[in-house]
């Protein structure tokens, strides 16, 4: 490659990257995210500085990987830590101001006699009709057109807008109008929409093609920090408490819209003080440790035994054995777990049928744990078999011969010579395997989902690992609690750190960096 050509490629890449960053920055600016624009700008300048000058050659090679690592690995970790001190989750997704605006807009009641708008349900152009935020395209009785969403009502320029004879908008530049069927499928989102208007009222949809403008019954008194609902007699007063608006007269009543706020270490203290969570967390933790240790032990023992079995120079066909024994390891993990789930089925599964038993494998705590360990044994023994085979072959033959000459029988040689040497070689791998199994989400989630669950308590399963528990807190429940899930994640981080310190210290790898 000639030098000018290489230089040209280099500059094309630099300019393309910078153009991409500029494009992202404009998008961010449109969304009003100043902080992110500044960061994007700094990243762009950094890239330009690293690649256009000769100052730092190592950085030229490290920056691409580091950028991804910082953005999608380190930042999420730090963000997890900061989330864990908030109440972010169901009912606490927005700021306090947004909760006030939303509550007021939701309380809108139609004032009798006011004219109605013609309405079309739409989304921003290019969005997914199933998930994108809905906007309302509205036509006043006088023919003027508007677009409204959660942030407010804006006039819609008439150019390019097409309407039916009754004034319903069918086409508007920048928006995709949903069909009646698509809009109907979003009826739940539609009923939650209330477009706030400047005079404290709001516009709400009626059915799929009309909307009314009404007055809010709830008012906000900023100086007293209280909401008053005039729609009831007498008016109800709501005051902020625990990041929610709670009825002063009857504290059991509150609006569903709370807000996100910093709650310090409350998530952590909840883990250790709330008796249900504490006992559940403790039992999950014990099973988590037991699972990781038993998995390592069983897979290692079986793998080692098979490796010893084939560790005989006279044995023929070792390559075929090895190719076939590696197959369980070669199946994708999800296939293994899901197929074993089928095989463990109490009524139809082939394990019960073949052995002619009727064990409720996945429905009882002990059965589920046994099923998990058996599946993991099948999944993990080929790895240990390969590792042990490699280690056994690195043990010099003369050591064994010396033992034989000294009169040691086969068993004694195995116990006193081979095992210690083997353990030295595979010890770090056993630690790594322990660390992997400690957070073996896929196996547990696909096989038992953490279940079976004890009675009505669906938050703590009897085969849960900490990681599946945290996952369920965040994603599976009807009321996700991101903050609490993040706190559990941070605790797992700390536990992994505590457990890996001894292994990390012993690893000579650090000294090998030359």
């Amino acid at each position: 490659m000639t030098k000018p050509l290489a230089l040209a490629i280099k500059w094309v890449l630099i300019v393309a990257t910078l153009a991409g960053i500029l494009w992202i920055a404009t998008k961010l600016a449109q969304a009003g995210n100043t902080m992110a624009v500044v960061i994007a700008g700094l990243v762009g300048m950094g890239i330009l500085a690293v690649y256009s000058t000769r100052r730092s050659v190592p950085l030229k090679y490290l920056v691409p990987g580091l950028l991804f690592m910082i953005l999608f690995q380190l930042w999420p970790v730090l963000y997890t830590a900061s989330l864990s001190t908030t109440n972010y989750g169901d009912g606490h997704l927005y700021s306090k101001e947004e909760s006030v605006t939303d509550i007021i807009a939701q309380s809108v009641r139609e004032v009798p006699g006011t004219p109605r708008y013609k309405m079309s349900v739409a989304i921003a152009e290019g969005g997914d009709p199933v998930t994108a935020d809905l906007v309302l395209l509205l036509t006043k009785p006088d023919g003027s057109t508007y677009v409204g969403d959660k942030s407010g009502l804006k006039p819609l320029p008439a150019s390019g807008v097409e309407k039916t004879s009754i004034g319903k908008i069918t086409k508007a530049p920048g928006y995709t109008v949903l069909t009646a069927r698509q809009a109907n499928a979003r009826s739940k989102d539609l009923s939650a929409i209330a477009v706030p208007t400047s005079d404290g009222g709001g516009i709400k949809p009626v059915g799929l093609s009309e909307a009314f403008e009404g007055k809010a019954t709830v008012t906000y008194d900023a100086s007293a920090d209280k909401l008053t609902d005039a729609g009831t007699t007498p008016p109800t007063v709501y005051a902020p408490k625990d990041a929610k608006w709670v009825n002063v007269a009857d504290p059991t009543q509150s609006f569903p819209q709370g807000w996100k706020e910093n709650i310090g270490l409350a998530n952590y203290s909840r883990i250790f003080t709330d008796s249900t969570i504490r006992s559940g967390f403790l039992s999950i933790f014990i099973w988590n440790i037991a699972f990781a240790i038993l998995s390592v032990l069983t897979t290692f023992l079986l793998g080692m035994l098979i490796a010893l079995l084939f560790n005989d120079p006279r044995l023929r066909g070792k390559a075929i054995y090895r190719s076939l024994l590696i197959l369980p390891y070669a199946l994708p993990g999800f296939v293994t777990a899901l197929v074993w789930k089928g095989m463990f089925n109490q009524d139809y599964g082939i394990i019960n049928q073949t052995l002619n038993i009727s064990v409720d494998w996945l429905g009882t705590p002990a059965g589920a744990k046994a099923a998990i360990l058996i599946t993991n044994l099948w999944l993990g023994f080929p790895y240990m078999f390969i590792v042990c085979t490699g280690a056994l072959q690195s043990i010099p033959q003369d050591v064994r011969e010396a033992a034989t000459i000294d009169g040691a029988n086969a068993f004694r040689t195995l116990r006193s010579i081979i095992m210690p040497l083997l353990l030295v070689a595979v010890g770090p791998l056993l630690l790594a395997s322990f660390a992997f199994n400690f957070n073996n989400f896929g196996l547990i989630y696909l096989l038992t989902k953490g279940g079976p669950f004890n009675g009505a308590d669906t938050s703590i399963g009897s085969s849960d690992l900490l990681i599946t528990y945290a996952f369920r807190l965040a994603f599976s429940g009807s009321a996700p609690n991101y903050g609490f899930a993040a706190a559990v994640s941070v605790i797992i981080f700390l536990l992994v750190a505590l457990m890996s310190i001894p292994g990390f210290r012993r690893t000579k790898a650090l000294e090998e960096v030359n």
Binding site: F68, L83, D312, Y321, L327, P332, V424, P428, Y445, S489
Partner: protein, 314 residues
């Protein structure tokens, strides 16, 4: 985790050594005590081990070719050969099997390619260049391998939801977004594997090239990358297989049935009341879905055995 006594990771030379040691040319040691000179009992136990290793795979095959295609009629031994489950699977419009397959392939391929490139760049810097914080950097990368990215999944989810608000093409429920999230973990163990191999390429080659007037970029792209091709292939495979089987992040990211991977899609077939009737189709899909990874394993067994003994996978 790098190991104490293990040889250089995935060094093909190590495998040849294993082959030599286990090969027929090894002198037969004198008859030792214990269970005598015959090896038939080893074969007997070996076949027992094979039965344990292979019976679920036989079951997958039997269930996939089972004409009835339900879980309760599935048996260990094939009860007749039928392709009904396969055709049912391909014609199920609510479960676009080939789209899942394509998504899995794209995600694993692009993700592995990206990881190899990012990792090779970083490994070149750590192996060939001298700079402040080099040792610290390697230690830090080792440290990150102890903490799987999935621990930060809640934050990752929220971050990508926010990205999706601004750039819909990179947010949740997109294949590109998922690849970006995977690339966050591209360094770590991979750099250790790669650097170990980079170190075995003699520095004298670099020095000769520098004397000839080659720039660092020229050395890296036209010389080093070619010399370390075996380890690039190995790391590509390891990452490919890892991403192909990844479930947690994929299941959180990909909610639309058309964007899902094989793992997420097939998982959906084992849920709820349909699990029994869909079992044949599920195993047919599982069988087809396993083929790429199984072929890779069998074709690159030697490299894998070498790579595995360094403990950098699973």
């Amino acid at each position: 985790m790098a190991t104490v006594n293990a040889p250089v990771p995935a060094d093909p030379r190590m495998d040849t050594r294993i082959e030599e040691e286990t090969g027929a040319s090894t002198p037969v040691s004198p008859k030792r005590g214990g269970l005598g000179g015959s090896v038939w009992w080893r074969h007997a136990l070996g076949i027992l081990a094979l039965m344990w290793a292979l019976f679920p795979i036989l079951f997958i095959y039997s269930a996939a070719t089972n004409p009835s295609g339900t879980l309760n009629t599935a048996s260990l031994w094939p009860s007749g050969f039928s392709t009904k489950n396969f055709t049912d699977l391909f014609n199920d419009s609510s479960r676009p099997f080939w789209t899942w397959y394509k998504n899995s392939m794209i995600i694993s391929f692009v993700g592995a390619l990206g990881a190899v490139f990012l990792g090779a760049c970083a490994a070149f810097a750590f192996s060939r260049l001298r700079f402040k914080g080099r040792r610290g950097g390697m230690m830090f990368l080792l440290l990150t391998t102890f903490f799987p990215a999935l621990l930060a999944i809640v934050a990752t989810y929220i971050i990508f939801a926010a990205i999706g608000d601004v750039l819909p093409a990179l947010g949740l429920n997109t294949v590109t977004g998922l690849i970006l999230a995977y690339l966050g973990g591209a360094l770590g163990a991979n750099v250790w594997l790669l650097k170990g191999y980079f170190d075995t390429v003699p520095r004298e080659l670099d020095e000769a090239a520098i004397v000839d007037g080659a720039s660092h970029a020229r050395i890296f792209f036209t010389m080093t990358l070619r010399l370390v091709m075996p380890i690039l292939v190995t790391v590509f495979m390891l990452v490919f297989v890892g991403l192909y089987g990844e479930f947690m992040l994929a299941s959180v990211f990909l909610t639309d049935v058309d964007n899902q991977t094989l793992g997420v899609g097939l998982y959906g077939m084992t849920l709820g009341n349909d699990a029994n009737t869909l079992f044949g189709r599920f195993t047919a899909g599982a069988l087809l879905g396993s083929i790429p990874v199984m072929l890779l394993y069998l074709a690159f067994q030697r490299q894998l055995v070498g790579g595995l003994t360094t403990g950098s996978v699973k």
